[in-house]
Each structure stands twice: as structure tokens, then as C-alpha cells.
Subunit: 410 residues, 4 copies
């Protein structure tokens, strides 16, 4: 029986659990300590800490309090880890709880974070996904079923003070270029009551909360990378910045597409990880490592027949941008959505498929001025019908009777 | 014996061949006509028309005349094709010529086009790649060998006048924002002697040359997409804009990484394609198609063990950018290069590997403000040595005695 | 929470559990009933019912009582199922128990069942395999680690009386050709106390036990097929012979090679399955089905780099056999074992690797008289060292200090 | 330009070409010599030397003279190769001739060699397969199209006299157990005019012909293994028995299923190989090698969605056999044929698909007395229609208007 070092109770608030935190700061005390070579289990809340329910009403997505995210389990101290080391993490397994075999996906309101296509889908919507063993399907999006490529959206080690200061200053600089923008350009430390600093209390807590970095973006330490292939069976090498490393993780995803374009997010779930840790002493210098590197799992869904959509960096208004992969990928996604609509999906359903299925987003061409070219790889085997083009045109597989719940802005 | 409809003679100038062109314009006459259902072969020059030689001097890369590129074979008229149709192209096979079993890769001087990492590698360099059956290796970059994922970097149909005007106006608008920039923001029609308008002559030629779009960027019709997976065995659906479709192709690549980051470019070669064409009448409306879509080949190198590098949208100077995938991918590439240098490669060699090997570039996270996250997937099986990190640190596999030729700016 | 319809207590005897049986007979009462469309969990003993222990002594393997095997969970009645239907089983997931994260592999003594290479390894030996999440490794066989391709070695529906009679008569006919052979040619009904007929009692039990077929061989209904690819995520179509179908299963394997050559067997374990059932009415006639057919899982370990060994149907003594694939595969296995010994493995360790790792056994040529050709595909990625041949010869990776426990015949 | 060391003229008889032979004997002189490290091309006849024509009449298959097969190109001498070495052969590429883009498949008459299912299909039939680039399809078998996994059915080194004597004596011993059997149990040396001993002439030729082993079966040196995965891109390690090794090859296949069950055979073709040779001195002892071993290509068709059929070792008459994989595989094949007939194929067409498509034949269980279990893996992506079972039963895709030519016995 493998030890579970951090447990969560989904019926209680994450704020009541001292082994949880939702900001990055070197002062957060280790929640527990392990030895190199140990393997153990860690439980996690879903990234919102239970704000989204398994129902047919998107109001909870609309009203989500994003100042709370992401609830992370940790930090885990690894004995002997020192700044400059690489912390090697074998992700041995990941799973949902037997009593919580579902996940959610959705789009935030443009007023509250939005998403990759927020100009096109500005209102809160959600879909619920049920897990049937290693597969998932949604009552809100018929016609698709996937095997999960389960992974932590967020995992990484504590920054030291210098790294933290770097993060805060560069993000503030960006934020200040357009401080009233909606959605915001960057999420800055707020120091408010939403900050959960683990078992840190009182003044120490307040100080750390005031400068603790939000967990939203990926950074040098990894963090919220939302890389679908950093899944069960992968081996990850993390930079270490503080004594003990301080590894934290959360934001489990049952399945996700490259880009996590729906922002809320993948198929989000609570659950557990089984991991093993070890060290490469002085590994950052030895291998010239700045950001984490990893070897993907030998085990992943074999969805390798694709229909591929191209996009270029000309925006929806016809304006030419210079080698902008972000815009090119958006066009590829929009092209795929238009295609899927011909088979009967609503745009929102198609958007959700791109956010939740193991679609690939490739940077296909990035030097042919002025157009970047991005490709969206849609796996055809996840559909219960034939998705390929034919001389007779598409068959409308869906009758439109089922759609995703939508909650208008108040 | 399959008919070869367009032949090229590598010992003569592409300008002497009326079945070649290097600009996009609806007035370019069809080089030949085929029926839907036909299969046939098409020969092509390399994209520069033979400017780069199989030697150890990068001066030809430095001095390349980019106003000439890309030399395309076509346009091929398909009987019955009308605007709004989809032209279905089965790429049945692609190969190099028996008398030309090599290709080139290089970086242009920053003064003449540059490349993805031109700030880091501003001078012209090149590597020559020999083909041994389905494999390639380079005398300038030891320790790697790949099976080719051969593909046309450039393939697409003629634009109509309206589409052409759209291209020209939007690219001019971008160019005008910084007309003296080096490298240029966009390559505009020039009407000069470099324009090869097929068999169009005299005034008609001059008029078309004056407004004929350069072939550099990918656009709605596909064109210079440089998608490595659009390879032999794939099936591509192209939008048709003019009667007869007018399919042209060229810029063959023996192998390339996602992004074609070296710009010059992949492993560039002359060669031939064997293709088959058919039509989906009114397919653009039936399937909501704006850009080409395709189904990849059932046949591709099985390099599926990877070491994956992350990059985020903080640039080399530490400046924070907003969800900029271009910058994030650049960081992932730079991270991979630093890693490879630990095994003895020069930076230029490592850069070339990323440009020529079947590396993948994924848009991993694109919503977690303010950082985009991109990943560079380096296939480990192409290396003759073990690339994985270990507790003992890297073994220097290469002694630095071999490097890529470099030609300083004059 | 998914319902568990059949539970097992590993601390008690399978004979005390009325939802278990170890013989095939149409009179065995259904242990439970489900509706088409239901999904549910089923727990199982290991195939020996706990006779083999997690220790370093092979005496239990030597002394195993094979008259007891296999302990199956079921039969499960499916409402509406009738003879001639196909019972569709989606294997949604399979796992070990949290309190029993290990499995065993071994060779029986030639005096008690033997194995594929019993002439070469005639004595009882065993290895214990620990599960670390989705991976397994053994303290008795260093240098290898696999991701599990978990599957039920045994699954199928109850025979009707006619099918049962066919089985018994044809196997008896074979047995009678050499009734004293060791190992035996066939395992016949014995009617003794070892027969567990589920909840059948008294005379009815004795009658059924007397003619109930042993579970050892695979037969028309599937049964003990030991097909490694019939794993979690696969979809199986079983012939139905009796009203309610009567689906039973057991003999879970964490990992196995094609052929299950060690006989005892794969990496054997207790555990649970999560399955879903549905029906294709009259499916046997519709599709001409005699034996089960299945579609493998989209999820399986990506061990696809192999070193492949050939074998032909000339036996160890040099005698020529006519297109005998059994002998050809034995030679391929022996060839692989000789190869592995050069790296330091004992023959027994190498034999165990072939029995437990996801090796493939292909029938490569079966018409070129007089030699069949079989190939053994050894996945190289499961080894912690480089297995490929080189000019310098093999490096002895193992020092021979660790071997598998052996229990001499008494 | 790669040198072609052995050329063939398909318009002339193989007997006129001194670089061809069709028997194995150490006295056959080397056709040419190469150095370790050389790469070069070798052309080959089809295995029958042109006896089968691209037409719609199976008389040529019925009347084939099998005493002539297989016409091999070689032997190629490798300088420095000595008995006990391993000859390493990189198969860099394989192709058909531009002027001969087709192949044949067929069943021999039971009176003349038969095939795996000769009791069920005792008469000569054939199908012709056209090559379209890397794909093939047949006018005699609609509804399927494959990418080729091109390979030499036959490749290996010359035996020494001792090895040759062993072959001849053991095969004669088998033959003598039933010398009048039809089809024959073994093909023995005949010394007749059909024997082509390369450039050996006169008495020396007659002596070698009298004892030269037929090329039909695979043996210790490899030879006629008909292993579909020994394809372009693979690396093979051959035992060396004579000075110079004496590598010969032929019997090219565009595509084949495991077992090559149709015997005539795969999709048989003339063509060329591009190979590279090197040596591992004393490699046989270093690695314990008796039969060739190989590493498969990184490039193979990605047909990895399968419908899998089981077979057990109970024969068509209901008789039980002991762990007989040959019979089990025959049952799996017959089961697949019955299934395919439900979609409209004739039995012969289905049989041909199993012989020519990249089907896999696995030895799934070989220890569960008395039944072996073999599985036939049918790739579903080669079919133009949906092959999976469904509640509505199969749709008859083919109307039976097209079938394979049959030539009754005379």
C-alpha cells in the first residue's frame, strides 16, 4: 500500500487544509518531507476548489472566483535538494476519486477571464464529462468519446526570492501597459484573503501573500504549463531553486487539447497522483536547464488518424500580422469549428471538443514572412461518425437538440 | 509507367522552362491539363533553382538571390474544376532524383532574410545532407541520421484576382508600418526580372509580374505552408479559386522540423512528386473550408520517443510578452540548443538539427495569461548516442572538430 | 461510484465465495444479473486463489494444486441475452488492489504442468513483480521495467450442454492417445473436491462437477485465451450459448508476452475489472462468428522498437518438422534467451522476461515447406541498457548476483 | 548516383544472367565483391522469373514451374567476411521498376504446391495488384488499398558444406516419411536443368546442382523467411558461413501478411534494393547467434486499428490437436474469411486479402493444454468501408460482380 502524504476532503474548503496553497512564495513551509527514491501519493482538489458543480447550469462558471485558483497540494520537501539541482519526478499514475468520477469544461465570460476564442464565445458555458473507466463522454456534447490522457495541468517547485521578484516585476511591467484591459493582461499578487499560503500564518502569511505570485501562468519552474503530454508515465526534470525543492501540484486534467483553448480549461477534475522523486545534483548547470524538460509516457491514447486544419496569421478582420503563431492557431481552431458545425455541432460544442480532446496544435511554419502557419490536428477516431470529407458532402449527425448550458452575464 | 507532365533539367535555368513560375497570379497560363482521376508525375527544381551547391562553402547561402524564390512547377489545370470546389490531391509518392541524392540546409544572413534565430545566428551557414535510400545524414553534423518525411514545402492553387488583391493590400499595409526593417516585414510584388510568370510573355507578363504575389508566405490557398506532415501518402483538400484550379508545387523537403526554423530551410532538394487529383464539387461551402485541410499519411517515421523542452513568452532580455507563442517557441528552441551543446554540438549544428529533423513544435498552453507555453519535441532515436539526462551528467559525444561552414557578411 | 457486483476477500478461500467458480458448466447459476448497457465492477482472485506468496521461495510454485485453477468471478447474467447473440464487452478499466500491488511469474515443475520450455527449465522457479503505478519491476530480475498492458487472461460465456459435450469428447480423445504423458495432453473433468461450481450444491453440484470442463484451454467461447492485447480499453464480441450469456472472468495479468510461455504464467495478480455489456441480437449468424473477435484498446504501451529473433521448425535435436509453428516459436524464444545471457542474465531470468514483457510472437512464414518461421519481438525500451548488437560485442550488464528462486522437485 | 552491381532484364530469361542463381551451394562463385561500408543497388527478378503475367487468366499460376524458384541476385562477396562473423545489412530502400509497377498474388493448385488453405481453395487463382506510388490496389479485389511494407521475401548468405549437408539430410529424412504426399513435405535437391548455379559451369555446376539446396524454406541463414517486417529501413544481422559471406536476395514483396498464407505468395514483384553492408567480426559467438536477428524499420504503415480473430487448435473436422499453432492460425484465418464474406467478398478474395495486406498473425497462447490460441489481426484502415460489427449487422459492400480469375486443374 502506497502512502498518501497529502489528503483532501472534497466536502470541505481547501482553505481549511494546511497542505494546500494557491500562490508561489519561497516562505511557504513544506507540507511534508520525503527522501530521494521515495514514491507516494498526493491528492488534489480540482483547480477551483469545488466551485463548479456536476449540473446543467453554467452560472457557477460565470460566477467563478478566479482569485482563488489554483489550489495546489504541497509544497513537498525533498531531503538533500539544493538550488541548482534537477528534481526528477516520475509520474507513476494519476486517477480520479472513485466518489468523483466526472470533470468539467467551460468558457469563462469575457468579463471574467474569457478564453482563447472569447471574442467569439464571450459568455459562460459549461459541459460535464463522465468518466467510464479510462474513457470519458459528455451528456452535453454527443458523438465523441475519448480515452483520457490524464495529467497535472500544474506542477513545479517553489521559486526563490530572486526568481519571484523577477516574475513580479516583469508581469507588472506588462500589466501597466494597459491596466484596465478586460480580460486582464496579467494576474498580479493581491495579498487579499483569497491567497492561501499553506500553513503560513499571521504576519508572515500576509507578507508572503502580498508578494506571492499567482499560479496562472507557466514560468521557468514549469507551473501551470497545461501540457497534455506531461501525463501518467512521464518523467519530468524540474529546476530546483530552494533547499528541499518544494514541489507542488494540482489542476488535474482527465483530457485536454494542445493550448487548453477553452481556459476553463481541460476536463478539470479532483484526484490523486502517485509519484516518485529523485535528484540530479547540480543538474541545471550540467545540462544547461532553464525550464523543465521531460520524457513523455510510453502509454498514451493511440489516436493517430487526424484531420488537420491550417491557419495563418491573418486575423478575423483580414488584418495581416507578422509571424504571429497565436493568431494563426486561432484561425486553425476557427476553421475546425466551422467544419464541425457542418456535422450538426453548435459552435460552443465544437470549441469544447477542441479544448478537451487530445487534439494537437503544431507550429508548422514560423519563418515565411509575414505569415506564421499553425495546424490543428483533430483525431478522427474520437468521433462516433465518419468525419472525413467526401463527394456527397457532410451528413448531419447531430440534430441540435442537445447543447451546452449557457449563463448570460448578469 | 506513369506519365511525367512537367520535367526539369537541373543543368539549365528555371527561367528557360515555361512550365515553371515563381509568382502567384491568375493570368499565368496552365502548363498542362489533366482529368479528375488522373495520376501523374511532376518534377521540380529546388526552391532556389540551383543557387546552392553541394560543397563546403556557405558563400552561396550568403549571396542567395531571394527575389527568385520559389520556383514552382505548374500550374496544372484540372478539367471541370470551378471556383468553390475542393481539389483533392493524393500525394502518392515523392522522391529525389537518382542523379541528385543530396539536399541543403542553412541560415541566411540577417542582412538577407535571416531566420527564426537570426539574432543569435546572424551569419550565413550551411550544411549538406546526403541521402542513403530513405535516410539522410550530414558530413557537417555528425551523430544524427533520420528517415525522411519527404514533403512539398509549397503546394496550392492559383488565386483569383480578388484573392490576389486582398493578399497584396494586407501585406502592403503591414510592410508600410516599418518599410526599412531588416529583415523585411513582408515580401511585396516587385515586377522585376526575377519574376517568372510561366509562359506568359510581353505586356501580359509585365502586368502580371507587377502584381503577382510573392510565394514566400502561406496563405488561404495553402502555398508555402512548410508543413512537414503534408508528406507522401497524405491526402489534401485545396480550395479552388479559378477555372481549372491551377495547382502548382515545389520546394521539396527531404526532412524538416515543425516551424522550419532555419528558414533555408528544411533539407531542401530537387525531385519529383507522383500525385492524383479529383474534385469535390462545391466543397468549400459544403464543408465550410477557407484554408486547405488534409489527412496525413499512413506512412511516417516512427520516431516517437522524445525529450521535450518548454518555452514561455518571456524573451531573451527578460521582457514579458502577452501569450506570444512565437516567442515561447523561440525559447523552447534556445533551451534545446543549450542542452545539445552540452553533448558537444556547436550552437549552429544544434540549430540545424532543430530545423531539419522531424521535431515537433506544439502550442501547449495559450490561455494562461500572460505566458504562452510552447514545447519543442526532440526525437531521441535520431541520435547515435543516449540523449537522456542522467545523474552523471552528459558525455561529450562530439569533439568539435567538425562544424558547419560559415560565410561572413561582406 | 460504480457498483461492484462481485467482491473477493483475498484473506479467505475462494471456495467460500459463491460468486466464484472454476469449471465450465451450463448449470452453474448466475452469480448476478445486469441489463444491457450497464457498467459495473467485478473483483477477482488471482488464478490460483492465493496459492503463490510474495516471498523468495519457489516451493509454492512447485507445490501448486493445479486442480483448483482458474478461479473465475461469475457467471454474470445479462438480461435478454439468448443463444446466437453476441455479447459485447467493453473493458473500461482493470486494476490491482491497493492492498495487493504485486504479481508473480514462474515455471511449474515438469512433473506438474511444465511450460513452453519445460525440457530446458524443468524445475519450479518464480519471480515476484512489484507494481509502481502503471509500471512493474522485479527484485529477481534486474534491468527491466515495463508499463503494464493489463488484461484478463480468461474471459468468456458459459457453454451450453452440446458445446460442453463437444469439448469433453474431443479432449478425451486426445488424452487417450497417451494417457500417462507428463505433462498431460489435456486436463479432463475430474468431479473431485477441487471443482468449485459456484452456488450449485448437493447432487446438482456433483453432476455438474463430474462433467464440468476444466478452464485451462481456450475454446470456442474464448475462455483462457491469454491474449495480452485483450486489455483495458478493448471491445470484445463473445458468442452466447445460454440464456443470460453467463459471462465469467479472472486470471488477471499485469503484463504478458505473446504465448504466455512461462505458463505460470504472465505477471499474475488479483484485482478488479470495470466493464460494460451490451448485445448484438443474432450476431453470430449475422457476422459468421464462431470464436470471439475483438478490437484492441486505443491505449497500450508504446514499446515499438524491437530486436527480432527468428526461429524455424527444426527442433533442438536437429530434427526437421513440417511447418510446425510451435517448434519454430520455441526456437525463436531459445535464440532470444541465448542472446540475453550474453548480457549477464541467467537463462531462467531471460525466459521470465519473454513470459512477462510485452513481447510479440509472430507467425511469420507458414507455407515454405518444410520450415515454418516464427519471430519473437523483444521490445528494447524495457531494458535499462542498450540491447543492440555492436562491433565491440555485448557489455555484461548484470553480474549474476541476483537470480530467481528455484525449488527442486521433492 | 548509387552503383547498381547486379542488373536484370525482365525481357530475358534469368538463366541467361550469370549473377542470378536459384539453389544454395557454397561453390557458387561470387557475382561481385564489395567492401564493408559500401552501399549499392541490386536488381532482382520476381521469384518465378517472369512466369506470371499481368492479365486476367490464372492459367500461368496453375502451370507455374516451381522447380525454377526462387531466382536470387548474388552471391555478393564482402571482403574480409569470415565464418563466424555477422554480416550487418542496412536495407536503405526497396522499389519496383518504373516500367513494371504491378505485382501478383495467387493460390497454387493443390496439385502443385497448394497453400495454407489448400484444402479449402484447391484450385489456381490469381489477383493482380497495381502500384500507385506507395499504395497498391487490385482490379480483382475491390474495397481495399494498402501502403506497401516492401521487403525481400528471401535474403541470406551462402551455407558452407557442412551446413548444406545438414539441411539436405534432415529434409530428406522428413520427405522419406511420406514421399508421395501431395503437396510434398519437402523440396529436395534435384540437379536437373532447372537449377541455376550462377556462373558455375560444366561438371562443377552439375555437382553443385545435384546437392544444392532448394530455396523454398527458411533456414539457419535466414533465406526464404517471408517476414513482412524485414522491410526497407530495417537492419539485419546475418550469420556468415563462408569466406566473403555470399549474400543473395530476391523474392521482393510489395506487401504481405504474417504467414504469407497464400504461398504465391505476397504481392510478388520484380524490383531493386539499395543496401549497405558491414561486419561484426566473430559476432556469432559474441552474441550467441544461430539465426539472423534484425531491428525493424522506423518507417512502416501506421495501420494500427485492428479487428482481431481468434483461432484454436481444433481442426475443421472438430479434432483436437495438442498446442498446434499452425492449426490455430488456420482457424483464425478461416474465421476472418467467414466474417469478410458477410460484406460481400468471395472466399478467395478474403483469402487474398489475408495473404497480401499487412495483417498480423500472433502466437497468443501456447501453453494452455491442449489448445494453442492464435490471433489474426486485420487492419481496418485498409478497407474503404466500416468493418466493425454493429447492432444492425453487416452492410453488403460488394455485389459479387468482380472476382479473382480461376484456372481449373487440367
Amino acid at each position: 500500500m502506497t502512502d498518501t502524504l497529502i489528503k483532501v476532503d472534497l466536502d470541505t474548503s481547501p482553505y481549511d487544509n494546511e497542505m494546500i496553497h494557491n500562490r508561489w512564495h519561497p516562505d511557504i513551509p513544506m507540507a511534508c518531507w520525503v527522501e530521494p527514491g521515495d514514491d507516494f501519493k498526493i491528492e488534489t482538489f480540482d483547480w477551483t476548489g469545488g466551485q463548479i458543480k456536476n449540473d446543467d447550469d453554467a452560472a457557477d462558471v460565470r460566477d467563478v472566483d478566479l482569485s482563488q485558483v489554483h489550489f495546489l497540494s504541497g509544497p513537498i520537501g525533498v531531503k538533500g535538494a539544493e538550488p541548482g539541482d534537477l528534481l526528477v519526478v516520475d509520474i507513476l499514475d494519476i486517477g480520479a476519486f472513485d466518489h468523483s468520477l466526472w470533470g468539467f469544461n467551460g468558457f469563462f465570460s469575457k468579463q471574467n477571464g474569457g478564453g482563447f476564442l472569447t471574442e467569439h464565445y464571450p459568455l459562460a458555458q459549461k459541459s460535464i464529462w463522465d468518466f467510464e473507466g479510462m474513457f470519458t463522454k459528455s451528456r452535453h456534447i454527443p458523438g465523441v468519446r475519448y480515452a483520457g490522457l490524464i495529467h497535472p495541468g500544474l506542477i513545479g517547485c517553489l521559486p526563490d526570492q530572486k526568481m519571484l521578484d523577477t516574475w513580479n516585476s516583469r508581469e507588472k511591467a506588462l500589466f501597466d501597459t494597459d491596466p484596465t484591459r478586460v480580460p486582464t493582461l496579467a494576474t498580479l499578487p493581491d495579498g487579499g484573503p483569497s491567497a492561501h499560503m499553506g500553513r503560513l500564518k499571521g504576519e508572515a502569511r500576509d507578507k508572503a501573500a502580498a508578494e506571492g505570485a499567482r499560479t496562472v501562468p507557466p514560468r521557468e519552474h514549469g507551473g501551470n504549463c497545461d501540457i497534455k503530454d506531461l501525463s501518467r508515465g512521464s518523467k519530468v526534470y524540474f529546476p530546483v531553486y530552494v533547499d528541499g525543492a518544494g514541489l507542488s501540484m494540482g489542476d488535474l486534467h482527465f483530457s485536454q487539447g494542445d493550448g487548453e483553448i477553452t481556459f476553463c480549461g481541460a476536463i478539470e477534475m479532483a484526484g490523486w497522483l502517485h509519484i516518485k522523486v529523485s535528484l540530479i545534483k547540480d543538474g541545471m548547470a550540467k545540462y544547461g536547464i532553464k525550464n523543465p524538460i521531460f520524457r513523455p509516457s510510453p502509454m498514451a491514447p493511440k489516436y493517430d488518424d487526424f484531420l488537420i486544419f491550417e491557419g495563418i496569421s491573418v486575423d478575423e478582420g483580414g488584418k495581416q500580422h507578422y509571424l504571429d503563431v497565436h493568431i494563426a492557431y486561432r484561425q486553425a481552431c476557427l476553421n475546425a469549428i466551422e467544419y464541425l458545425k457542418k456535422f450538426g455541432y453548435s459552435g460552443a460544442q465544437a470549441y469544447s471538443i477542441l479544448g478537451t480532446a487530445p487534439v494537437q496544435g503544431h507550429i508548422s511554419g514560423v519563418v515565411d514572412v509575414p505569415n506564421a502557419c499553425a495546424t490543428l490536428w483533430l483525431p478522427t477516431d474520437i468521433f462516433e461518425f465518419d468525419l472525413m470529407p467526401g463527394v456527397d458532402g457532410p451528413t448531419k449527425y447531430l440534430d441540435g437538440s442537445v447543447d451546452m448550458p449557457l449563463a448570460p452575464d448578469l
